[in-house]
Symmetry: C2
DNA sequence: CGCCTATTTGAGCGTCGTCAATCCAGGTGG
DNA sequence: CCACCTGGATTGACGACGCTCAAATAGGCG
């Protein structure tokens, strides 16, 4: 199909498939499914049986754990190229987290069975998946470290420093309440922490836009 | 070698290798290294280059993240059969956590290169490793969930309920300060939380020994 | 038996969460 | 073009949970 041919062309751009031969890419394209999500649309929900592995093509979504009291803890923001749902290969598995689109998204889905076949057929694929999960796990460990040892202001400073920058300017890509949740803070606390950094002359905040005045002081604050 | 023959005999008991053929088991045994640790001995430390993957045979160790201020956050207790260090396959990788024996340990080590060979040679091994990491990751997610949504007493109750039980009796396998760290609490807070559960008539504590008087109330407290 | 460490207990404090009101921006419709 | 509306963000006041510091007690191991 035309769609598959076009898709096969875009697969090499995905880190997970980087360097694979065209035969394998074509086969992967043939068993993959495209998926689009509207803003706020839920891809899967905690408790549902896990059926597929996903790869982000465009857009952003959040992986979060809901609580009975309406709260949520955002575990991760997922960006283009990110792979998630590797645990689909565990037998009879149910999602621990919920995945919801933050903006319109396009992604690729591989169903359990097809993925199992792919892993059989393509040497090295399982290893790439393993790397992907390991890498993600390390991210989680770092988050745990921050949450355990750093104060609210320190975590906010750390987050600001991690954002991609143009000159000394950067921006918060997501809603502040979402970022707060990712950092394990209440929106109010996040707001106050930002304000603190402003008061100390380290940054300036204009809505989602942030000017960094003293990068080394920010780094010193975190460390 | 005799050691290898004996070792090959014990490998099937390890979940990771369950169901593999004897040829593969023999080969695995031949490339594995035994390792013993004395109590408190450090297996690897944060920041060191990762060289091996490990499998616990006997004993217990802790995986923890140290902080500059002498604190530590215990990420996990590892028990016989547990596999860790999968991220050794990431290129040029350094340990994020520190591994230290809580009691004398025996374990199996596979060096990076041998593990890479094994993954090539043994179909399905990469997948087993993937499952192992995925499974561990889920454990982390649950810990994050608890730390985010539950109070100190709730986390303690949850931990008590998870311990293996004989009748209505159970015991804390590790030092209380270690368990406290795993739960993201200070030792004092852990002690007071236990005391609270005692005061509420849910349990009795005698050193590391715990009697559970009202299991359903404990469960209700957690949920 | 004595030392050393783990644990417990107490007192006080600080950080962060909660609740409520206000402010602001973006989008919509008149 | 402007008024309105809605949801997010901010600010203030207050309280609580858990942390810190210090001392006392208990337990384990030589």
């Amino acid at each position: 199909m035309d769609a598959h041919i076009a898709l096969a062309g875009s697969l090499p751009a995905i880190g997970l498939f980087d360097g694979l031969g065209r035969t394998h890419l074509a086969w992967l394209a043939s068993v993959s499914q495209r998926r689009t999500l509207r803003r706020s649309e839920v891809l899967f929900e905690r408790g549902q049986p896990a059926e597929s592995l996903y790869i982000m093509l465009t857009g952003h979504l959040k992986l979060s754990i809901p609580s009975d009291s309406g709260q949520e803890k955002i575990l991760e923001f997922l960006d283009p190229g990110d792979v998630f749902g590797e645990c689909v290969l565990l037998p009879d598995h149910r999602w621990i987290a919920t995945a919801q689109a933050l903006v319109p998204c396009r992604l690729l889905a591989f169903e359990k069975q097809e993925l199992a076949d792919a892993v059989q057929k393509i040497p090295g694929l399982a290893l790439r998946l393993l790397s992907s999960v390991s890498y993600r796990m390390e991210g989680l460990l770092c988050d745990i470290e921050s949450a355990t040892f750093r104060s609210a202001a320190q975590r906010v400073a750390e987050y600001v420093l991690r954002q991609p920058r143009v000159g000394n300017q950067t921006r918060l890509q997501f809603h502040k309440r979402a970022i707060a949740s990712k950092l394990g803070l209440q929106p109010e606390t996040f707001s106050r922490s930002l304000k603190q950094l402003v008061a100390d002359g380290l940054i300036t905040v204009q809505g989602p836009r942030i000017l960094i005045h003293d990068e080394s002081a920010l780094q010193a604050l975190v460390a």
